[in-house]
Subunit: 209 residues, 2 copies
């Protein structure tokens, strides 16, 4: 994730359109985030997110000019798939991907804001739980929620997580959090813009897995 903090997302243009090629390059560093969590339990999540990115890239490379922005993809797929849409193609992949991105956004923001369990200051469970509740919980049935609760026990200590975020750099905790805040600026605008686009295009679904 040193790699993540070093790979800042590009700033959005005023119309908030998201350039597909840039987006794909920016998110390609995201799966490595899950290595920072330090347990093999998270490998399956990493693959799920990798799968989303591969799906979107697969659509993009078929016609880079036609799919220049993420919005172009959604609009074209709506046109092409009729009633099946939005439960299809890159529209579906990005629908799920954005939830994982939001999870990361809220987790990092909560750490940057200094939110902590005062009784367990070196645990990040409260931050992870907050991130989960703001992003994914509502799309998970009770069994996957139980799986989440089990997986939460594999969450790293705060100090180890921050160290992993800064891998390869000798930085203090304060410097690491400053990097996180810096990373979050453009990252959060991009994630927020994707959510807005799903609302505007009526592309959001709320079934549970």
């Amino acid at each position: 994730m040193a790699v993540l903090l070093e790979s800042l997302f590009d700033e959005l243009p005023p119309d908030k359109s998201i350039d597909t090629k840039t987006f794909l390059e920016n998110v390609s560093h995201i799966p490595s985030f899950f290595d920072c969590l330090g347990s093999k339990v998270f490998t399956v999540i990493k693959s799920d997110i990798n799968g989303n990115i591969t799906k979107i890239r697969g659509v993009y490379v078929k016609d880079p000019a036609k799919y220049a922005t993420l919005q172009d993809i959604l609009v074209a797929e709506k046109e092409a798939h009729g009633a099946e849409w939005p439960s299809v193609g890159a529209t579906l992949a990005l629908m799920w991907l954005k939830r994982g991105l939001r999870f990361i956004q809220v987790l990092l923001q909560s750490l940057a804001d200094g939110e902590r369990d005062e009784n367990n200051p070196n645990l990040i469970r409260v931050n992870v739980t907050k991130a989960y509740e703001s992003s994914l919980k509502k799309y998970h049935g009770w069994i996957v929620q139980k799986v989440f609760n089990a997986a939460l026990l594999a969450a790293p200590y705060r100090s180890n997580f921050l160290k992993a975020l800064s891998k390869g750099e000798e930085v203090t905790e304060e410097d690491c959090l400053a990097n996180v805040r810096h990373f979050l600026v453009n990252y959060s605008s991009v994630v927020d813009a994707i959510y807005e686009m799903y609302t505007n295009l009526n592309a959001e679904l709320d079934y549970t897995v």
Copy 2:
């Protein structure tokens, strides 16, 4: 899984060598087994197993003559990878795949043998737990074991599972179990032969994930 019961594994030759091409064709129907479990929770397991099969096929197609049997693959990879082996390539993929195959073998055998929880005769938890304990538990750390316990709650009812196994056919429960027994004959010999090969070649590892 109608597809599974209809796709019998081929009989082993007397020397118990396993033809790679036939094996790949036979196991290609296995991932659909997880659809019989009837919950999306199992999608991640299906992908993991699919990944194993893809990895083995990827090695095979590079030189079908050289990799004619599964044993040929293990021996060639041992030669090629030195100290890294067996934690590498198709050897690693088959090491994990065989555990999933053993899981299925023990689960089906336990159902065929009529093992039941007399207090909950329409649940298959006792069969699933037995299968897990004989195949995977020892390779899972306590967190993944907890995840398994949560996922167990998504296991289907016995009657629904047997119906799913016979999808597309109108069969009685007794006929379905007869099909299962028939399927298990060659299937079990193949799985047992893979285990034997890992023991003989000293290719087994016992780390946990």
